[in-house]
Structures are given as C-alpha cells and as structure tokens.
C-alpha cells in the first residue's frame, strides 16, 4: 500500500542543518497496522509527513496505492491526500465549529451536498461513539472525545490509509487504550491501513502488526512486533522495550548474584545468567521443570515478568543456572527447540 524508497529530508536551520530523515526505505502492506517508533527527535514525525507530502522529500520516492506522490501536480496531490486520513497529537480541531461541523469539513471541501453530508457525518459519529455530542464544541470535550472527533473527521473522505501522529501521546493510559481499541476496530471493519507514529512501546505492543524503529533519521530495525520484542537488535529498541517489559535486573539483585558467585568461586560448575523469553502457548508449558528433571540442573529465578504483546502471552525470565556444561547445553537446547529465546547474559555481571 505504501512504499518509501530511499527518502531523505534535511531542514536548513539558521544555526545548522537538521537531517530529519536519512535514506529511509519502508514497505507497508494493505490492511496492516504499522508502527514507527523512536525517541523524540528521531525523525518519525517528519517521516509520517512525507507519506502525505505535507513535507516534501529532498530525495526518494513516496508510493501510495501505486502512485508516486512526488510526481503529482498540486491538484492531483490534493486528490491523493483525500485517500490518506490523518490524526494528530493535539487533535487540530476547529474551535469555531461543532463536533458535527468538524467532521463535515472534509466533505464540504469536496462540495458534497448538505443532506448527504448530514447522513455521512451521523454515520461517522455513530462509528466513533459520539452521536450524542454532535452539537457541542471541541472545548467542551475530553481529550479522548476530541481524538474520536479527529478520527471521524479523518475517515470522512473514506481514505485507504490513516496516518496517526502521536495520536495517543496527550491522553491518559485508560483513554489511550480505548482510542487504540477504536483504531483496531476500524482497521478490521474498514480494512484501513494504519501508520502509527509513537514514542510509547505500550502503544506498539497493543495494536501494531509490524514496526520500524527510528533513531537519528534512520530506520535501525523493523519486523513483526513479536520478533522485535523477542530479539531486539539495536540499543534504542532494547531500551524502549525495557520501558514496558523490564529486561534489566535491579541493582540489588545484581549485587546478590555477584556475592553468590564470588562465594562459590572455585566450584566445579560456574553459574550462568540466562534470560529466557517465552511467547504464546509456551508460556503455559512446564518447560523449566522438564529441563530440571531431564538434565539435573539448578535454576534460580531472579526476575520475571509476564505481559501481553499483540494479544499473545509474552514472558521474560532471568535466572541463574547451575550444572555441568553438558547438562546446561542440553537444557538450553530443549528450551530453544520449543521456541524459547535463550540468551546468556553473564556480561551484565
């Protein structure tokens, strides 16, 4: 549905040039929810504006629904933009228009007759659950309601793609969840492709199918959310995942482990620090006790957390393993055969 080919954008500032986006290539499939995540200043807001050409790229191609938007003239571009809805962090609703008027605006712009507008706006307001608020002004609404108006407005022109620029960043966790549920629902019901920009891993964790992680204008890694969570490759990704699923051991635990290892220095078998990640059905299987029974090794659980990513169980477990090298290899082999990610992290000690 969307293909970015080697797009770049530099802003020429008075003091220095800012390379906001540097040679990014991405493909986003029709019907998926694609997350672009990064710290602030990573270039993700610029990247999302390159998709509807609110920002013109210095180089590269922006292909949406088979057309390179950078080659369109002004009128064709305006028509193409109607196929791409957009919602914003600060909602960007008109304070001079009611809820109804805000949702009607895109339809007025294309000269839709008044009765048709009324029917369509009512349908949209029902979809986002705001039928009773049609005559109120945005200032009288809560943040979550404002974003629902934004979503209804973005859907008015029946777009194929919805761009979401930090749409939940100004909302509390509860409201964030309900807005994300709504996005997921319209993704299902309308088959809408959603590109979601965020700095919050918990947003990605809840609704994205695939993600790209941005850092300093580049995409540092991308893939299915579960795969990225299971085996993050870059430091940024690791630390951002750490915010929702803590992989790092608390300092007190580390100190205890160090003391224990010092005390047992000279033992036949040294301790090994392992980090295991279980995904999906494996979470329910007694794999650890199976490993203990079959290979006769000791596990000492130091830290663990179970969460849900993309509707699947996701557990991370840090433990200290002790046994002969042979037993240890056997146990790790068993776990890996059952799709558990096993990582030796002795280096953190």
């Amino acid at each position: 549905m969307i293909a970015l080919k080697n797009v770049s954008k530099t802003f020429h500032g008075a003091a220095r040039d800012v390379h906001a986006v540097l040679g990014v290539s991405l493909t986003i499939e029709a019907g998926e929810i694609f997350g672009i995540i990064g710290r602030s200043g990573a270039g993700k807001s610029t990247l999302v504006r390159l998709i509807n050409l609110l920002t013109t790229p210095d180089a590269g191609e922006v292909i949406v629904d088979g057309r390179d938007l950078t080659r369109l003239d002004a009128q064709e571009l305006r028509a193409a933009r109607r196929e791409i809805g957009m919602i914003f962090q600060h909602f960007n609703l008109m304070s001079s228009r009611t809820v109804f008027g805000n949702v009607a605006l895109p339809l007025e712009l294309i000269g839709r007759p008044r009765e048709k507008i009324r029917a369509e706006v009512e349908k949209l307001l029902a979809l986002v659950g705001l039928s009773t608020e049609a005559d109120r002004y945005p200032q009288q609404l809560s943040g979550g309601q404002k974003q629902r108006v934004g979503i209804a407005r973005a859907l008015a022109s029946k777009p194929k793609v919805l761009l979401s620029d930090e749409a939940t960043s100004a909302l509390d966790p509860e409201t964030t969840r309900s807005i994300l549920d709504l996005l997921r629902r319209i993704n299902h019901e309308l088959g809408l492709t959603i590109v979601l920009i965020t700095h919050q891993m918990r947003v990605v964790k809840q609704i994205c199918d695939r993600i790209a992680v941005m850092d300093a204008g580049r995409v540092v890694e991308s893939g299915k959310v579960l795969d990225v969570f299971r085996a993050p490759r870059s430091e940024v990704t690791r630390s951002m995942i750490g915010e929702v699923i803590s992989g790092e051991l608390p300092e007190t635990v580390l100190r205890r482990v160090r003391r224990r290892i010092e005390k047992r220095n000279g033992d036949e078998h040294p301790d090994h620090l392992l980090r295991l990640i279980f995904v999906g059905d494996d979470v329910d299987r007694p794999l650890l006790s199976e490993a203990v029974k079959r290979f006769g090794i000791d596990f000492n659980i130091l830290h663990g957390q179970i969460d849900e990513v993309q509707g699947q169980g996701f557990a991370s477990l840090t433990l200290l393993a002790n046994g002969s090298q042979e037993a240890l290899d056997g146990a790790i082999g068993l776990l890996r055969r059952h799709d558990v990610t096993v990582e030796e992290i002795d280096h953190v000690l």
């Binding site: 609110l54 571009l77 933009r81 957009m86 914003f88 960007n92 605006l105 895109p106 712009l109 761009l163």
Partner: protein
C-alpha cells in the same frame, strides 16, 4: 439646554456616527483582505512571498506611523478627487478610511497569526485548496480576534473623527472646538467629552459582547482596554 443647542448636538453626533461608521466599514472592507494577504504571504504562511510581504508591510507601516493630522492634510488632493471637496463630513471620511484600512490590516494579520498552525496542516492533509484554507479555516477561526480588532478600530476612529472635525469635518469634535473653545462655553466642551466617552464605552462593550458570542473557546479573546 435650548432646543437649538440640542439640534446642534444631535446633528454633530450623527456626523460623527457617519464618519466613524462609513470609514470603519470601508476600512474593514479594504483592511481585512489586506490583513489576509499579509498573513498568507509571510515566510511561514501558506503562500509565502517574502519580498511582496515586506513591500506591503512597509506601506502599511508608513501610513500607520504618519500622525493622523498630517495624513489628513497630505491626502487633500486625493480627497478632493474622491469627495469633490476637502472640507465637510464626506471629505473627512476619505482620510479616516485611509488611516483605518492599514490599522485593520495589522489587527487582522495578528488575529490570523493566532490560528494554530496544526489546523492549517490538518486542512492541507484533507486536500484543501489555499482558498479553502483561508475561507473555511483561517477566517472562521480568527473571527473572534477580527471582531475584537474591528472594535479597537472603531474606538480609534472616534478619536480621529474628532480631529477631522477640527479642520471642518463637522461632528462632535468640531462642535467642541467651535462652541466650547472658541466661544468660551465650557459646559458644551464638557458635554461633548461626556458624549464621546459614553459612545466609546458603548462601542467597546458591544464589541466585547459580540466577541464572547462568536468565540467558543474556554476563555474569550480580549479586546484592548
């Protein structure tokens, strides 16, 4: 107060009303589009033309920084061309309008600047044309600020019109100078001043009320004190 005196006050008040009302109206008709032009041609506007913007801005500033009494005299040839005479109420409307238009333009420009850039971005993302952005987004969103600006303009015009009166434009200012000052009738002068104060109060509070009515923000856009 004698009935002649009352008639004199009434006529003078009507003349002031005519001068302020007409110059305010024509000033708004010229000034609002000028303010839009100033806003959209800015470097960060939707139709950036920095050099054109600077040229228009300089002209507007030149008119605004000329003291009204000098402006009035300087445009006499033009006034004579338009009004057929350089003396009288109709003639006074010409320099008053010339003073009002750039004043309105700057106030409109700053009201438009208050419109959140995010709204313009949202409209562009919807595929709005530049004309639609101006007509459907910028002007409606800035409307309370524009009303507040027009109120300030009318109040300033009341002061200017009194000055125009001094050089034969008629109106309450003229009445005050001729009777209150030149004929030593301090009670006439006091009455003129009181009527002007009451009139300005009325214009200001009507303007404020209108701003409140058209503004749907939590807090109203304030006009200058």
């Amino acid at each position: 107060m004698s009935s002649e005196m009352f008639a004199l006050f009434f006529d003078s008040f009507l003349e002031t009303l005519l001068m302020v009302g007409l110059s305010g109206l024509i000033g708004a008709v010229l000034g609002i589009p000028l303010g839009v032009v100033l806003n959209v041609t800015e470097a960060h506007g939707i139709l950036p033309h920095p050099r054109f913007n600077r040229a228009v801005g300089l002209t507007v500033n030149a008119v605004r920084s000329t003291p009204f009494i000098i402006l009035m005299v300087a445009v006499i040839p033009f006034t004579r061309l338009v009004a057929g005479s350089s003396i009288g109420t109709t003639a006074a409307i010409v320099p008053l309008t010339i003073a009002a238009a750039p004043f309105v333009a700057r106030l409109v420009e700053s009201a438009l600047r208050e419109v959140d850039a995010g709204l313009i971005e949202a409209a562009q993302a919807m595929g709005a044309t530049d004309a639609q952005i101006i007509g459907k987004v910028l002007l409606p969103e800035a409307f309370p600020g524009i009303v507040a600006g027009l109120t300030i303009t009318l109040v300033s015009l009341v002061g200017y019109s009194a000055m125009a009166g001094a050089v034969g434009g008629g109106g309450l200012g003229d009445l005050g100078i001729r009777y209150g000052y030149q004929r030593f009738l301090p009670e006439v002068m006091a009455a003129v001043v009181l009527i002007l104060i009451a009139f300005v109060q009325l214009v200001q509070s009507l303007g404020d009320r209108l701003v409140l009515r058209v503004s749907h923000r939590g807090q109203s856009a304030q006009t200058a004190p």
